[in-house]
Structures are given as structure tokens and as C-alpha cells.
């Protein structure tokens, strides 16, 4: 299917995540309608839209936390497995950062980061631990490594969650409203980590309301409303000259204050 709205992404990159004619219903509610989206290697795509537009659901279908009704989703050329060990292996390759952090509450920060590499990848504990410390250093919470998640601030917890995902060396990172549950003063510490990742060439799909992040780090903005992709454009184009009425309406509501 032709990319009628976008065409702004680097045509040279190889497609990493491809969604073709994806449909999903929650009962009678058609939450994803005819979704076609290609994300290329190294690309940072920001998905925005009003609440209930299906953007979180879209994000969650890519590692099959939400199964789809029809259509196809491919990551790195391979169709998503239905279930079982193959699906677990797929999920190991797709990093996910949640709105509510979801750190394992009964394990230390360090254990949170090493659990995946040790148990899902079979990496020796000492090696996993060393890398985890490097990652925690990188996101600025290495001094909290032996505490339980509940002892950390929201911003720190979310940075640990990012480190936990990075420890799996994912092909693509999904961020499902990573700053929506944070106090305002903690949002930037998380966004800074994400901006660094983006500049390092990590492939990212980010559901967010942070326009600043979109402007600074995104290659492309995908605007969703009522379960459909309404508009795709560069951040500059989208924020200064949105084409669709829905996007104009949405931007006028969030940018006026």
C-alpha cells in the first residue's frame, strides 16, 4: 500500500517494523483500523493523538501484548509468532517501556536489569551484572543498584526500566507513554535518556504527549485518531502546518496552554 501521508522517512533504511492492514476490536469498539506503518532501522517515530485513539494499543501489538484480529506485523522480516517459546524470543528482541514502569517489585534494581539477560538469553550472571552496572551508570542510577524499586523516585524507576529493556539489546524499543505517570520535575531526566538513545541510532516507537521530545528527537510524527493513522509528517511539518482537521483541532487544544 502506498504511503500517501508520509514519505518523509529516509528511503535508504531497511524496514524493521512493518504493520500491514492491521485490524483490532475490543468487543464492538474498532480500536485499530487499517493500520499501515513501516518503521526503518534507526528511525525514531513518535505516535501522538487524543486519548482513546488507539496509540497505546498500536504500541502493544508490536510485541503481541495485544493480539490483532487480522493483518500482519513483521519485525526484522519475520512475522510475529502466535505464542510459546518463539513469541518469548521475539519479545526478547523488542524492548518495552511502560507508563507505570512495572519494575519487578520484589527484586533489586540490579536484579531487574539482569533477569532478562540471565533467564531469557542464558548469559552468565557475572557478565550480565557487569553490563547491567554499565547500563545503570548510563541512565544515572548506578548508585541505587541494590535498592528495591519502591525506594526510587518515579523518574529513577523509569530510567531503570529503560536500562532493563536495553540489557536485552533489542532491535527496536517501544515506549508506551513513558512520562505520563511522572511528576513534572522528573519528566526531563527520562526524556534526556531517550533523546540520547535516539541520537545513538536506536530504532524507537514512542507514544507520548511530549511535543518537545518529538521536535528534538523524532524523525517522523504519526498522528492517530479513532483508531486510524490520520497523518504522518516530519515534526517540523506536523507542528507548524498540520494538514488534517483532526490534527489541527488536537494541536490547538494542547498547544494553547
Amino acid at each position: 500500500m502506498d504511503d500517501v501521508t508520509g514519505g518523509t522517512n529516509d528511503p535508504g533504511g531497511t524496514p524493521l517494523v512493518e504493520l500491514v492492514d492491521v485490524q483490532k476490536h475490543f468487543g464492538d469498539l474498532h480500536v485499530l483500523k487499517d493500520i499501515n506503518l513501516t518503521v526503518r532501522k534507526g528511525e525514531v517515530v513518535v505516535v501522538i493523538g487524543p486519548s482513546g485513539s488507539g496509540k497505546s494499543t498500536l504500541c502493544r501489538t508490536i510485541n503481541r501484548l495485544e493480539p490483532i484480529d487480522s493483518g500482519s506485523i513483521r519485525v526484522d522480516g519475520a512475522e510475529l509468532p502466535e505464542e510459546g517459546k518463539a513469541l518469548a524470543r521475539h519479545r526478547a528482541d523488542v524492548g518495552m517501556v511502560f507508563q507505570s514502569f512495572n519494575l519487578f517489585a520484589h527484586r533489586s534494581v540490579l536484579d531487574n536489569v539482569t533477569l532478562g539477560p540471565v533467564k531469557a538469553r542464558g548469559i552468565p550472571a557475572a557478565e550480565a551484572k557487569a553490563e547491567a552496572m554499565t547500563l545503570l551508570e548510563r541512565v544515572g542510577v548506578a548508585n541505587q543498584a541494590h535498592k528495591l524499586p519502591a525506594a526510587l523516585s518515579g523518574g529513577q524507576q523509569q530510567r531503570v526500566a529503560i536500562a532493563r529493556s536495553l540489557a536485552m539489546h533489542p532491535k527496536v524499543m517501544l515506549f508506551d507513554e513513558p512520562t505520563s505517570a511522572l511528576d513534572p520535575e522528573m519528566i526531563n531526566e527520562v526524556l534526556d535518556v531517550m533523546i540520547d538513545l535516539a541520537h545513538e541510532g536506536t530504532t524507537m516507537i514512542v507514544v507520548t504527549h511530549e511535543m518537545g521530545f518529538a521536535r528534538k528527537a523524532a524523525d517522523r510524527v504519526v498522528f492517530m485518531a479513532d483508531g486510524q493513522i490520520v497523518e504522518e509528517a516530519t515534526p517540523e511539518e506536523f507542528f507548524t502546518a498540520p494538514r488534517s482537521a483532526r490534527a489541527k483541532d488536537f494541536l490547538s487544544k494542547i498547544l494553547t496552554h
Partner: protein, 236 residues
């Protein structure tokens, strides 16, 4: 001032004529073995009930609802008459001199374990419900399989959330061991019946001794489990 010497004399005679401590030790052993059995089976049932496989869910649900709603006496007597007398299930060495005692003890442990597993399962399931869905989603998103998510992330938190209800199961189990007397296991209540038979003159005293004995057994369990549930609570 009331003279208490006749009372203390009577208690002294009771304890010297009957081995009350040995009877309570039997109660403790019944409780201990049955607790291990019911924890193992109950965990298995809980895993079945929270699994995504419909036939396992159904199996777990049927077991729990059938066993939980059957009187314990029926299950214990069923173990003795059904498993042993009818089906010939032998759990002890038939040539040993203590065969009947061993066999009855082990049948009682089987019955108590089968029965309390249903309650352990439900206590654990209530613990699983204290674990937010996001924990399992995060576990799956880093590539853990269903079993790994359950064993490494969900169940450890579920056990912590289930400590208080599990405490109630242990308390009930301790007192329910008295039903084993119906198949001739010489635990506390069995001895109590014997003592009442021969010393009806000190009936209330005998009741008092055994009531106090059970309180002494059970009270620390309650205190311990309450302390544990505070200590192990998962901070969120």
C-alpha cells in the same frame, strides 16, 4: 484465699497417668506433614487455575469446588475405608510392628493434605490477585516464557501477598487434625476422649487442658504469620 491444691493435684495425676505431650506431638507432626503436602498440591492447583489453558483451569476449579465443599470427616474416613480397605493402598511397611499406626497416620496426612490444598490454592490465588497485571506484562516483554514469568515474577509476589490468608489455613489445619481421631490416629483429641472415658469426674479440667494446649500451638502461628506478612509485604 481459695485452696488450689486439689486442682494442681488433679492436673498432676492426669499428666502422670496419660501422655498428653506425646498426643500433642502427634498433632504437631500431623500438622507439619499435612502442611507440606497441602502447600505443594495447593501451589500446583493455583498454577492450574491461573494458567491460560482452559482444561487446566477447569480441572483446578473442579478440584477446589468439590474438595472445599466436602466435609473433612468424609475425606479422612474416605481415605481410610476407600483408599486402604477397598483399594488396598498401602503407605507403610505391612510387616512392621507399627503398621496400623503408621498406615493410619499417613492416610490422615493424605486426607488432610488433599483437603487443605483447596484452601491453599484459593489463598494463593488471592495473592496472585495482589500482583498487578503490569508485572506479568513486563516479565513477558523481556522475553521470559509463561512458566518463567510465573516462577520468577508472579508467584514470589503472590506468596508474599498470600501470607496472611495462608496463616488462616495453617490455623484451621492445626485444629482440623483432630478429625484424624476418627481413623484412630492417637493425636490430642483422641487422647482427650480416652481420658474423659476414664476420668469423667474431672471432665472440665480435661477440656481445659486440651483447649489450652491448642491455644498454645495455634497462637504463635498467628503471631508469626502476621509478623511475616508485614515483613514480606511487597512495597509498591
Amino acid at each position: 484465699m481459695i485452696d488450689l491444691s486439689p486442682l494442681s493435684d488433679a492436673v498432676g495425676t492426669l499428666f502422670s497417668d496419660y501422655d498428653v505431650l506425646a498426643a500433642f506431638w502427634m498433632t504437631v507432626k500431623l500438622t507439619g506433614f499435612s502442611l507440606v503436602g497441602s502447600l505443594v498440591l495447593g501451589t500446583l492447583l493455583a498454577v492450574m487455575r491461573v494458567s491460560p489453558i482452559p482444561s487446566l483451569q477447569l480441572g483446578g476449579a473442579i478440584y477446589v469446588n468439590l474438595v472445599r465443599n466436602t466435609p473433612l470427616t468424609l475425606i479422612i474416613v474416605g481415605c481410610s475405608l476407600g483408599l486402604y480397605t477397598q483399594l488396598g493402598l498401602v503407605l507403610a511397611n505391612p510387616s512392621s510392628g507399627t503398621f496400623i499406626v503408621d498406615q493410619n497416620f499417613r492416610l490422615a496426612v493424605v486426607g488432610l493434605s488433599l483437603y487443605h490444598a483447596a484452601f491453599v490454592c484459593e489463598a494463593l490465588r488471592s495473592g496472585v490477585n495482589t500482583v498487578p497485571l503490569g508485572q506479568a506484562e513486563a516479565a513477558r516483554s523481556i522475553g521470559l516464557t509463561f512458566t518463567q514469568s510465573l516462577v520468577l515474577v508472579v508467584l514470589p509476589q503472590a506468596f508474599r501477598g498470600a501470607v496472611a490468608p495462608l496463616g488462616n489455613v495453617i490455623i484451621a489445619l492445626t485444629k482440623n487434625t483432630t478429625v484424624a481421631a476418627t481413623i484412630g490416629v492417637a493425636e490430642a483429641s483422641y487422647l482427650m476422649k480416652v481420658m474423659i472415658e476414664f476420668r469423667p469426674d474431672v471432665l472440665f479440667l480435661i477440656f481445659g487442658v486440651f483447649a489450652l494446649g491448642f491455644v498454645c500451638l495455634v497462637l504463635p502461628v498467628g503471631i508469626l504469620m502476621t509478623a511475616l506478612s508485614r515483613r514480606l509485604a511487597v512495597a509498591r
